[in-house]
Symmetry: C5
């Protein structure tokens, strides 16, 4: 597999990536729009899993920093957002249903927001002044400890993931409400309705289990 | 009793099989439509029990594999779906009410879905590429460890079971919602409204206790 | 007091028997319609108590079997229905409100149903083929261990009981829903709206506390 | 202070007595209508407190019996109603909101009813045949162990009390529902809308905190 | 920074102060309207935090009394209101959502009210007859143990605070309901829509996370 290969964008509306088994070699690699270094971002996605251990939701690695952006569920139910290798923690309410997440960060204040099913957690901050590396390996299903590698089956996702979108700025409250409700705002880094991706290992594209 | 005997199909609409006592010899044997080996299936049924031990919901055995299809409630509240002798596990919410189950499997991906009261559990997979044996002994009320036998009273059902239907393909989300709500989709393997069955032991056909 | 004495039927609509104190000599004896031996029955009643110990809800004794019919709350919250001296057990949800019970039994299958506040518990069976003795002593407020006697204050009811009706057949789902909602179906063994009864000890007829 | 002194009746509608601090000398003494010995009564009132210890809600003492009528919250959440020095106990649901109580008693049966926020507890009985002494000292905020005295700060009320009304008979279900909903039935022993009272110590008349 | 410096009032409607990190030097100092010594007050504000330790919500210090007014969350979930150095305690229901508080005090009775999300806690009293010092240092984000100082990072706020208003009298029930619902009553000590403030350390003005 060549993660730098060019692939056609596909409309994934109504579909999900399904990882039905624990593994250390099943994943999806996403190709971002050509971008300059980011001073802010919003990532939204929906996940359905019954894992009780750690797992990665979104792993954005550069050649020098494997946790350049990382959305991660810890085993104690603490959710972490990492930027540039630093971490902040959130304690969302537990849920056994498909769950929608949006994470935002801006360099000017360092403030991180996490929205769970359309509700904001308390804001935290980290890496004020940082710029995100532009050449990134963006992986679903595995957590990178190296650029497109360093996978650990004990941090892999088992379940469904979909509606993955990414913007180069912080969405407003109203925009996040709309995204949570299923609306769209022409995401300019990753666009679920025109997604360039390559699948590796035991991962399937199936109809979404959520409405 | 001759499980290979021909019997007239009966409309069981509004009715249920009632197993009012624990036993190792009360059961119902169902006769499937003449079928070729299956590459996929959906089985739906409704069960009402207050058992706190293990019990079988649907036991489909072939001469070489007693757990060719098995829907089974474990004693810890873990629900298992077996295909071709392999198992995956689900943790549905606990319920003391009559509960509707749909289980699906397809050979191409091996993905198993379990729907409990119209809600999907997280998908798992097993036995990718397998074909289900066509000549089967399909039993309600007992778990088979041999073709039409090998019963264990500690795995028998005590309670009501009804609305048992089976298809040779995976139903869509919309179809499963309709089935859960009481609608029908001409099931082509087992059809509750034209059911060929034989009862053995202390089992009764009574009006359903659910609406 | 002469339990065989003839008394006028009274309309108890909107009223309840109140047992405000624990005792071994306060009770109500009910006179049934002249009946032949029963092959089935439905008994419905409403009880309001804050007892945490065992107590009897309905005690129907013959000269040879004190537990010919017995509706009984055990101390662990397990409810039992006895017919002809045999018992089956049910685990209704706990309630601190006035609670409506209907118990049914039929000789042909032995199936016992228990409906609590209009919801059916899982069916059980006992005494298939049995006939209920017709000459019975029917007592509210005490549990009989002998014909019109053998009372135990630790099994007495403290609280209110009302809407006691009995039929010589099994009511349908629709009929039980109607009875639970306050409707009536000309009960032919005991009729709360034309009840023959005698009170003994500290028991009072008062307005119902339920709507 | 002279508890036998004559004072003008005041309309306390929309107001409450507030005891903001624990004490053994803050209380309100109420003057009842001239009455003959009572054979029945209903007392209703509303209380808002966050005490977790014992406290008195309504203390009606005669020269020979300090607990002639006593509404009292025990430390285990057991509520007691005392008449003529005897006690019965009730277990209302716990509440952290302002709570409305009505207690009734009638001499003919001895039956005591307790209504909490418009819902009846299970009836009990005591002091059948008793008559309540007419010359009484009626105190809010303290529990009397002697006529207008014998106070204990550990039984004092800290919080708000209001809507105190008393009748010389047992109200019907409909009347209690109306009183709970804020309606009135010309109370003839104590009337919150024409209340004769004297305050002593740190007690204030303030707007009600409940609607 | 010069807390006595004059600054222009700003309309903070729809905005919040965000303290994204624990610190001992991030805070906001508010400038009150020129006032005479206060005999009563109402302070309302909204806070969103996931702290499980102690923290200050509103710290109003004079040169002689650092806790002249202090709204403070204790680590056990007990909320305290301090006036003139004395404390009363309240136990509000736990909440993980943004929470609205109004605290009132009047000198004439000493009564303190606390309203949490529009619901009154049980009233308490303290410092009857006291007058509040007029020359005050009013701080958000830190708890003062000295005039504009004596900060402790273990009592700092991490999270959002907004809608801070203060009056020189006790608001009525209706007024507090209106404030909770987002209405305004020309606050005459501190006015969120015309707020004079200076920020120090890592604190940001951001859009509110609550509606
Ligand atoms: Ca990593
Ligand atoms: Ca890793
Ligand atoms: Ca087996
Ligand atoms: Ca077996
Ligand atoms: Ca007995
Ligand atoms: Ca007995
Ligand atoms: Ca006393
Ligand atoms: Ca006392
Ligand atoms: Ca301080
Ligand atoms: Ca301090
Ligand atoms: Zn002072």
């Amino acid at each position: 597999m060549d993660p730098s290969g060019v692939c056609q964008p596909l409309n994934m509306g109504g579909k999900a990536f399904v990882f039905p088994k624990e593994s250390e070699n099943s994943f999806v690699i996403l190709t971002a729009q050509p971008t300059k270094p980011l001073k802010a971002f919003t990532v939204c996605l929906r996940v359905y899993t019954d894992l009780t251990r750690d797992y990665s939701l979104f792993s954005y690695a550069t050649k020098t920093q494997d946790n350049e952006i990382l959305l991660f569920m810890g085993k104690t139910g603490m959710y972490s957002v990492s930027v540039g290798g630093a971490d902040v923690f959130f304690k969302p309410p537990e849920s056994s249903a498909p769950t929608h997440y949006c994470a935002t960060w801006e360099s000017s204040s360092g403030i991180v927001e996490l929205w769970v099913d359309g509700k904001p957690m308390v804001r935290k901050s980290l890496k004020r002044g940082h710029s995100l590396g532009a050449e990134a390996s963006i992986i679903l299903g595995q957590e990178q400890d190296a650029y497109t590698g360093g996978f650990d089956k004990n941090q892999s996702l088992v379940g469904d993931i979909g509606d993955v979108n990414m913007w180069d700025h912080v969405l407003s409250l109203e925009e996040i409400s709309t995204v949570y409700a299923g609306g769209t705002f022409s995401p300019n880094v990753l666009n679920w309705r025109a997604l360039r991706y390559q699948m590796s290992g035991e991962v399937f594209v199936k109809r979404q289990l959520w409405p």
